[in-house]
Subunit: 264 residues, 2 copies
DNA sequence: CGCGACGTTGACCTACCTCAATTGGCGTGG
DNA sequence: CCACGCCAATTGAGGTAGGTCAACGTCGCG
């Protein structure tokens, strides 16, 4: 279960039904590298990744490009639609990609029908900010080896929701060139670092799969600490977001999963 | 008028009264470099900077430190209190600092009394995320000269709310060492770059003041583009956040300033 | 007057970049 | 089934932006 799918756990079963139907109805595909949204445009839709990976990126006038973050299946691209006049970054497909695009009026209607939805999406936005902070320190302070190791750790954990101690494998859709754009490095140098990791940790990236035989070792190499992903906290966040935004709805629908809601 | 003060413009006069009284009642001072919050703690208060600057930072186990962003007077440190079990970054005073610290129950009460407050604070959080993105590309893609120039531009503009074409001066409380921690550089190298900027743009940093005789020139050097600060958009954001979180409150109190609300 | 914090300078070093060529895998069309 | 072309991965040689270390200057403050 990925981060994104947790959102589903925060909806009542009725809400989940409405939500998923809406996703299916608005599905749309993009080819590899195609832009879903470009910097400077007015946001036109709320986007949720159904399958494939998306990349947020920013480009400088002279062409230098920085990947700011990845959006994995089930996750929300951003809440810009409801916050900002013009998007300040672009979003593109990493490879072939399937997305649900919900127009503003539709989204509006959804939020009215599903009172737990807005706080749940807000949670996603807040985690996104935390991840962004981690990327900043990653690029600013770590050396190339640590950076790449950290990236691999993050992607691995985000797809499993558990910072497992052992090993395993997961999808990995980035090329070395894209990894370079993400970490502020060169494609050539990323290549050399990946080879290092192969030697030192037996990490393998092949066929769109990432294999990590010994996660703990890789995490140590990167000084990886998963707390910034705030795994296992979404229920609490939603509870608090509700306090923040819906102080008067105490009696209304709650998610059916009481265990989740009671987690600190 | 700084970013933070705009929040006031989004409240009704009654709300503003309550809000400001609450700030004054909960004021607290910190010495230079003191931590307001440390990574891993449970958030205990909603913090708003009254005077001085705060820095968000993260530290790695071996001591390397990255400043993630600055919090200027009138701005909200973060909404972590209402979102997250454990803070994922620390906050410290840049120099002597005065902060309003509002406990969770008090904040709760405030939000009930001031329905425009939560969306206004949420706006601050979202802009914070946009600034974080810009810092990521700044550190990942720009060279040292561009980075420092960009930092100066951002600080200058955030204190004036207008990307003025001419020149001027503003407060500047960072040491060169802190600038280095913020931009992923060395103190020594920052020093050399600052001297470059003195030569090429006549930029001066002295006595806690930053003087920029020709802002346009500095901005060009940094490829600085202020759109990521989303100046002039808060009214729209609050309107949309209201749509998102309070769909049923259409008849309630609105900010008195109708002109602001009608801005695209 | 002396101390501590910050700014400045110089000499040397290295992690990472640049450029350019080669290899390997894979889908496509003949 | 093979040949071609494309894209990603790989390799090598040489260059440079920025780091490291260590000193010294300077200013404000107790």
């Amino acid at each position: 279960m990925g981060l994104g799918e947790i959102v589903n756990g925060l909806l009542t079963s009725r809400e989940r039904l409405i939500w998923e139907a809406s996703l299916a109805r608005n599905a749309r595909d993009y080819m590899k590298r195609a832009d879903l949204a470009r910097e400077g445009e007015r946001p036109v839709a709320l986007r949720i990744i159904l399958a494939g990976w998306a990349q947020k990126y920013k480009q400088m006038p002279d062409g230098r490009r920085q990947i700011l973050g990845l959006v994995l299946p089930g996750e929300l691209c951003d809440l810009d639609l409801f916050t900002v006049a013009r998007t300040d970054h672009s979003i593109a497909a990493v490879r072939r990609l399937s997305v649900a695009e919900i127009s503003r009026p539709d989204a509006q209607r959804l939020f009215e029908q599903c009172p737990n939805l807005a706080p749940a999406l807000c949670w996603a936005a807040i985690i996104g900010a935390a991840v962004q902070r981690e990327w900043t320190i990653n690029i600013g302070q770590r050396n190339a080896l640590e950076r790449v190791a950290q990236l691999l750790c993050e992607i691995y954990v985000r797809q499993r929701d558990v910072p497992s101690g052992g090993g395993g494998s997961c999808d990995f859709l980035l090329t070395q060139g894209q990894m370079a754009e993400a970490m502020g490095l060169t494609q050539v140098h990323v290549n050399r670092v990946v080879q290092q990791l192969r030697l030192r940790c037996a990490v393998e990236i092949r066929n769109m799969r990432l294999e990590i035989p010994d996660f703990a070792q890789l995490a140590a190499l990167a000084s990886f600490n998963a707390t910034y992903l705030h795994l296992g906290e979404p229920a609490m966040l939603v509870e608090r977001a509700r306090m923040l935004f819906l102080p008067d709805l105490d009696g209304r629908d709650r998610p059916i999963d009481g265990a989740l809601s009671s987690a600190i």
